[in-house]
């Protein structure tokens, strides 16, 4: 219940706030001015999203682009967003000044990156818990990945902190080494000079600014983990995606929790950046030698019973399996290839299944020494051939491996350890470079025929994210059901929804009946690389709950859905995007998209839905859209109260006694100057026409005389004053404020108040339906039954619903024009249907009965 209230709180505070504003403001602006600003915000947001989509495409690896393009495109994006914020401020009367700071923060980050200006923050040491999205470059690739495993996937990762790339710069400058690390791109690597450089690093002094921060971090570790040891390991600067650098740099295990020991280890790790082996590797990858900066991670050691490495996808390119390599004690000897260890092959399914195991002779094991450092000892005889892992541990490791792979959208090389308590700790997660199978031609017609799998449908819908995925169909009708979404399933839904983000890390594919490639969800799918097709229409009906299917989504909207797991397609689907990842300059330039595209403000009801919560330009746009709609709803409501009895309104002459007055703010009616009434045919407002059509639908108005029982009547009399606090303003009038693409309808039938706000245009992104229902005669039990009934019906239509007492708020956004009209027609019918329905809801079974009746088109009570 608490939770419900929390969900509802923003709405309540918005209402009360707008009341205050309304009372305070002596001469509020005319509604048409407010509406124009709203539209300006929408239009600019649209253009912004178009630019973002275009940038995503051009920077996606299919185009050759240069910095000039990025500057130009980002310049245009800034223009639009700034214009939008300006109008948004006017619209909301500067209610969200914090949005400016959020915009400035993100804009500065992006412009620094485009122009290659280093960061100003200069944090020397950052705890893993505080590694935030905008600090990834400072902590290096490996640390960024591992901190995401800890902070976002909530898997078990030991306490840790990072000595940042800024600290690296400070260290190099403090010791006057800057010139010596710079190398000419085409010069030979001078081994003697490099050896001398390494020696200078080992002898170098740690500047005070790092020293202080480091001691502080060590103290915090001591507070949390007691007197423990650390693993000190390299983490080269993250650009985007990136390379494994496996085994290139030094890792020092079991380092004392003591600043002298940690500083020594730190210098050894930094020096390893300049080994001739590491330098050659960097050059091979196209890095400018001497430019690479290194962060160093300090992670609390796990006193490991067993440990090892997991490849979340078998290197043979067999996507359906993962490999676990395990040994007793610390994993060091395994990584260095000194011993065999156990090898487990696990089939990746929602319940991972071990399909093969080879138990190596684990003759020796690496253990931590009490005085620091590690040593190798003979494995006790009875343990040599004994498997290091139990079936349960294998399954759990596999599950975690699959989660990590899904999250990073790439096969991963994962280091893990199991402590004395049996808990799995993840120690490292880095991209696993798997060789592609060379050229992969586009699917041709023969492939469909030859596949040997039953084709369910093909070439329907719009590809949002290319790729292939297979799993069991899980049809989602309402967001609540996402809680039970099985790992690896294929999400099938009527509408697209950004709420799906919560299952994207574990979804194999997404298929929706309706949707656009420009929606928020689409952006998220691309970001998370979930193969996705929207707008497949009734083809969705061929997919049965629990059925195993494979989706292939390729170039030029090539779509195919097969029954079963079509492994050859899965292999092919993963081909396209991988190649450019190998180009360093590409990754570096594309990095700015991290601050443009991702959508973090997914749910308007979540706590982070604030200007401070905005981490990308997309978030800023999302925030403005949501709040602009809220502002419009309230402004329209105020307008409808104010315009009562004024000249610019007209009665609606329709076949049912709804008594609606219309106020047209532009293009909503086609009437003559001498008309006093407007007919249904004269309504040009797309959303109003759809609602009225629904309301006058045959069968809804014939049963006028439903008798209220005495109790019902008395109860409603008693409740009258608190139905809504401004109820007297509505009395006697049903008012619609309209334009060609907009309606805000306040309607009262008997004791029910309905408010419906809708924008319905050709651009799905602009469209929203906001529905509010409150009040009513009859006792509390019947009222709650009515709430149940309305919620059940609207949920069936895909609305997101919040209820409190006998108030319902239902919302839906990002829907195409036809779909919006169809829904409004249904909502119109619902408004008429529920006029006096509650008097009939005598028991709970009636709710089910009337819900079913309504959904099947039987409206007679």
């Amino acid at each position: 219940m608490n939770n419900t209230f929390k969900l509802f709180e923003p709405f309540l505070s918005r209402v009360s706030r707008s009341f205050r504003l309304w009372k305070r403001s002596e001469s509020p602006e005319s509604f048409s001015v407010i509406f124009d600003r709203f539209r300006e915000v929408l239009e600019r947001n649209n253009r912004s999203l178009e630019i973002i989509t275009d940038m995503g495409e051009k920077l996606g690896g299919d185009y050759l682009f240069d910095v000039m393009y990025i500057r130009k495109a980002y310049g245009e994006l800034r223009e639009e967003i700034r214009g939008s914020i300006l109008n948004f401020d006017l619209l909301t009367r500067n209610r969200y000044p914090e949005l400016h700071a959020a915009y400035e923060r993100i804009d500065t980050l992006i412009r620094r990156m485009v122009d290659g200006i280093p960061s100003m923050a200069r944090e020397m040491v950052i705890s893993f818990d505080n590694i935030d999205w905008h600090k990834f470059r400072e902590v290096g690739g490996k640390n960024a990945h591992l901190s995401e495993v800890k902070n976002r996937l909530k898997l078990n990762v030991p306490e840790a902190f990072v000595i940042t790339t800024d600290a690296f710069d400070a260290f190099i400058d403090h010791n006057g080494l800057r010139e010596r690390i710079a190398q000419r791109p085409d010069a030979m690597i001078d081994e003697t000079a490099m050896k001398a450089l390494q020696e200078s690093i080992l002898q170098g002094e740690i500047p005070a600014v790092i020293d202080i921060a480091l001691r502080d971090a060590l103290e915090k570790i001591r507070e949390k983990s007691g007197d423990c040891f650390l693993a000190v390991r390299s983490s080269a600067e993250e650009e985007d995606g990136g390379f494994s650098f496996a085994g290139q740099f030094e890792t020092i295990l079991n380092v004392h929790l003591d600043d002298v020991a940690v500083k020594d280890a730190y210098k050894k790790v930094v020096a390893s950046l300049y080994s001739s082996k590491a330098m050659a590797y960097q050059r091979q990858l196209g890095y400018e030698i001497g430019r690479m900066r290194m962060a160093v991670g300090c992670v609390v050691m796990v006193d490991a019973v067993s440990s090892g490495v997991m490849y979340s996808t078998g290197p043979g390119g067999n996507e359906g399996y993962l490999l676990i390599n395990a040994t007793w004690g610390l994993g060091g000897s395994l990584v260095e290839g000194k011993i065999d260890g156990d090898l487990y092959v696990v089939r990746k399914e929602s319940e991972p299944e071990m399909v093969n195991a080879a138990y190596g002779k684990k003759g020796s094991m690496m253990i931590s020494l009490k005085e620091g450092g590690t040593t190798e000892v003979r494995t006790p005889d009875d343990m040599e051939m004994k498997p290091c892992l139990t079936g349960e541990q294998i399954a759990e490791l596999a599950r975690e491996g699959m989660i990590i792979e899904k999250y990073f959208g790439n096969p991963c090389d994962i280091e893990w350890a199991i402590g004395k308590s049996g808990t799995i700790s993840i120690l490292q997660a880095r991209p696993l470079m798997i060789q592609g199978e060379g050229e992969r031609p586009a699917i041709v017609d023969e492939d469909w025929a030859d596949s040997g799998y039953a084709l369910l449908f093909r070439n329907r819908g719009t590809v949002v994210q290319k790729g292939a995925g297979s799993g069991k169909v899980f049809a989602v009708k309402h967001p609540d059901e996402l809680n039970s979404f099985p790992k690896g399933a294929v999400l099938v839904a009527r509408h697209d929804s950004s709420l799906f983000v919560q299952v994207m890390p574990i979804a194999s594919a997404i298929i929706t009946e309706i949707g656009t490639p420009m929606s928020h969800m689409a952006t998220l799918c691309r970001e998370m690389k979930v193969p996705t097709v929207v707008n497949v229409g009734d083809a969705v009906l061929t997919l049965k709950q629990g059925q195993e299917v494979t989706l292939y989504a390729g170039d030029e909207n090539t779509v195919a859905v097969y029954e079963g797991v079509a492994r050859h397609l899965l292999a092919r689907g993963q081909a396209d995007s991988v190649m450019m990842e190998d180009v360093y300059e590409f990754r570096k330039k594309r990095y700015i998209m991290r601050y443009i595209t991702p959508l973090n403000l997914v749910d308007p009801l979540m706590n982070e839905f604030t200007p401070e919560g905005c981490k990308s330009m997309h978030d800023i746009l999302r925030f403005m859209h949501e709040k602009a709609v809220a502002e419009l709803v309230e402004s329209a409501r105020r307008e409808s109260i104010r315009s009562r009895g004024h000249g610019n309104v007209m009665k609606l002459d329709i076949s049912v006694p709804a008594g609606i007055i219309v106020m047209d703010i532009g293009g909503g009616l086609d009437v003559h100057s001498d008309d006093t009434k407007a007919t249904l045919e004269q309504i040009r407002s797309v959303p109003l026409r759809a609602i009225i059509r629904g309301m006058v639908h045959p069968g809804l108005w014939q049963s006028e005389a439903i008798s209220l029982k005495v109790n019902d009547f008395l109860s409603s009399m008693m409740r009258m004053p608190d139905i809504v606090s401004d109820s007297e303003h509505y009395a006697g009038y049903n008012i619609a404020v309209i334009s060609k693409e907009y309606v805000n309808l306040s309607i009262r039938f008997g004791y029910h108040f309905t408010m419906l706000d809708c924008y319905c245009s050709d651009s799905a992104r602009n469209n929203h339906i906001y529905f509010r229902f409150v009040g009513g005669a009859t006792d509390i039990v019947k009222r709650s039954r009515r709430v149940e009934l309305i919620a059940a019906i609207l949920r069936e239509y895909g609305f997101n619903i919040t209820t409190k007492g006998d108030l319902i708020v239902a919302r839906l956004a990002n829907i195409g024009r036809d779909e919006t009209e169809a829904l409004l027609d249904k909502v119109g019918r619902l408004i008429a249907y529920t006029r006096q329905l509650d008097a009939l809801l005598h028991d709970d079974s009636a709710v089910t009965q009337y819900t079913r009746d309504f959904l099947s088109g039987h409206y007679e009570h």
Partner: protein
Amino acid sequence: MAGYRIMVIDDEKIVGDMAKMSLEQDGYEVETFLNAAPALERLREERFDIVVTDYKMKGIDGMEVLKTVKKLFPATKVIMITAFANLDAAIEALRGDVHDFFPKPVKIKELKASIQRALKRP
């Protein structure tokens, strides 16, 4: 496409790097240059089937590259790419017997198709 040699000249490293990566995937041999002077020198040493060049560069620009290539190696096809999609530049390039002219960003698929056409035509 083995055996065909392509030169890419662009003063931004990313263009050459990306072009090299994708063209080598198709089996072409690719060399990249950040400016035109060493590129033209290299042309004198080795035969290239295609030269992909940026239009606007410091020092020797794309038009000069085109003229030099056409004068010295008439069989070599030149494809021009430019950040400035201006009509005059395109006309000027076409007069200079450019094989194709693309505004940046260039869809790699289209560039590859253009290269294939260039190699087919005698």
